[in-house]
């Protein structure tokens, strides 16, 4: 069992920040390209073309895709076998400050009330680090996600009563459609819409962010009921015709992701979280033998494309090929 120390984690954190800011996740790129080929509105098609071109140019020139770095969240998943001597929040904060100096990130973190900007993206509680323990994995996983904040302005959460949920979850569907229309072009469509359902309000909100920050946008929800809901919502949202940048068109959302937790018998909290098309997400797995693999390098679009039934604008559903780590 190899020890993960501060120095090696810092090097990895620097690489994660750089990758996530200068390129979009390959699954999101696959969906953008598919949306571009399906788009019937000419102005919208041009908009999608510009987005794809910008993403390619950013990768080539090692420049930030978008001027706004958004807000960073680190999703860490730690296995039982992991041996680590490292202060995770401190190391990622250091990597973010260093990347800001290098010009990969605009200094955009401020005091929420005084609006004072320390100038290096440091600040209380930044980045947000969410840690999960998983006894069944033999690696430590870190996913960094910089989500834009224009899209945050459009987010909503509501604690529904059982009556409001309604038959066939019509209350949830209505909330998603209403908030998508209210959001219009604000969250930089085509978006990924994360929906957290259940728990209490804070839990639903966390699930909604995690849904679009950790999952690949082309995956299929293993929960069949939720997979169906995701597909139904994607079809409905795209039929609204809000389009890229909000100028009208077939592509309003690239994907809808639903995460669920059980809740109390009196309530159904729902949180809706918009993610702009700029999928700045990068992940890494550090295995117990010390080998390091970046998640996007492991991403292999499956040749066989399974489009959702009756929905030409849905996700490609390119399945992520899970590679079982070698056990030593």
């Amino acid at each position: 069992m190899k020890l993960i120390d501060e120095k090696s984690l810092y090097e990895i954190a620097l690489e994660l920040v750089k990758r996530s800011c200068t390129r979009i996740a390959p699954d999101a790129m696959a969906l953008l390209k598919r949306a571009h080929s399906n788009e019937r509105n000419l102005a919208a098609k041009k908009m999608l073309e510009t987005m794809i071109k910008n993403a390619e140019l950013a990768k080539e020139t090692n420049k930030p895709l978008c001027q706004s770095p958004g807000y960073p969240v680190i999703y860490a998943k730690i296995g039982c076998a992991t041996k680590m001597e490292a202060n995770i929040p401190k190391i990622f904060q250091k990597a973010i400050i260093e990347s800001t100096k290098k010009g990969y990130l605009r200094p955009s973190i401020v005091h929420p009330m005084t609006r004072k900007n320390p100038g290096d993206n440091s600040g209380r509680g930044v980045p947000d680090v969410e840690v999960e323990l998983d006894p069944d994995i033999d690696y430590a996983e870190f996913i960094i996600s910089f989500k834009g904040c224009g899209s945050e302005v459009a987010n909503i959460s509501k604690v529904l009563t059982p009556v409001q949920v309604g038959k066939d979850w019509i209350g949830i569907k209505k909330l998603v459609l209403e908030s998508t229309i209210a959001a219009g072009g604000i969250p930089c469509p085509p978006t990924a819409i994360g929906i957290g359902i259940g728990g209490q309000m804070h839990y639903a909100a966390k699930l909604s962010r995690k849904a679009v920050s950790v999952r690949e946008w082309t995956d299929i929800n293993p929960d069949q009921e939720l997979a169906k809901l995701e597909n139904d919502l994607l079809v409905s949202v795209n039929s609204l015709g809000i389009g890229p940048a909000g100028i009208g068109g077939d592509t309003t959302a690239l994907t809808v992701k639903v995460e669920m937790a059980s809740t109390h018998t009196a309530i159904c909290p729902v949180a809706i979280n918009f993610h702009c098309w700029v999928a700045r997400r990068s992940g890494v797995r550090i295995y117990s033998d010390g080998s390091v693999r970046f998640k996007e390098d492991m991403y292999e679009p499956k040749n066989e494309i399974i489009p959702c039934k009756g929905n030409p604008f849905s996700a490609n559903h390119i399945l992520f090929k899970h590679r079982r780590p070698r056990i030593h």
Partner: protein
Amino acid sequence: MSLTTPLKDKDVMDLEVGDVVYLNGTIYTGRDMAHIRIMECLREGKEPPVALKGAAIFHAGPVVKKKNEEWEIIVIGPTTSARMEPFSETLLGKFGVKAIIGKGGMGKSTQEALKKYHGVYLLSPPGCAVIQAKFVQKLSTVYWLDLGMPEAIWVIEVKNWGPLVVAIDSHGKSIFEEVKEKALRKMHEILTESGGLS
């Protein structure tokens, strides 16, 4: 269509929703904090540091780097214009701003101000900061840097900056309003079919 700042009434009155514009000349960036401070200037009878008559204001905060005492642009792109909605009437009516450039669209009060004082809202492709930095000729100067890099007013020279799409024109038409009306009708249809609005 190619336009050069400072803009005249006629320049913007010729434009209609859907037209594509390429901009030349000097533009100013301005986000929430710069707008708040411009309003303070007005209240206190002070002049803002930039000439706003005929100006084009870009809702944006660039990523810049200082090299040999000169500012250098890394990337620049639009921020959410809706946050600046409360300032449109004053910017156009009192200061004579002619073009607001951003992303995500703006609301009813901006639509009315653009019609009343002859102005235009231009949409710049969201999230496309590398491409848009290519049109920047020069970062001339910066004001109010104490507000932080994103919130300061950056004075920028642009050449053939575009395509920018006219999203709200000076005749009271807005792409966003049309898209929203259609979307609301569609939602009503979907929910009625599902039995949710009986």
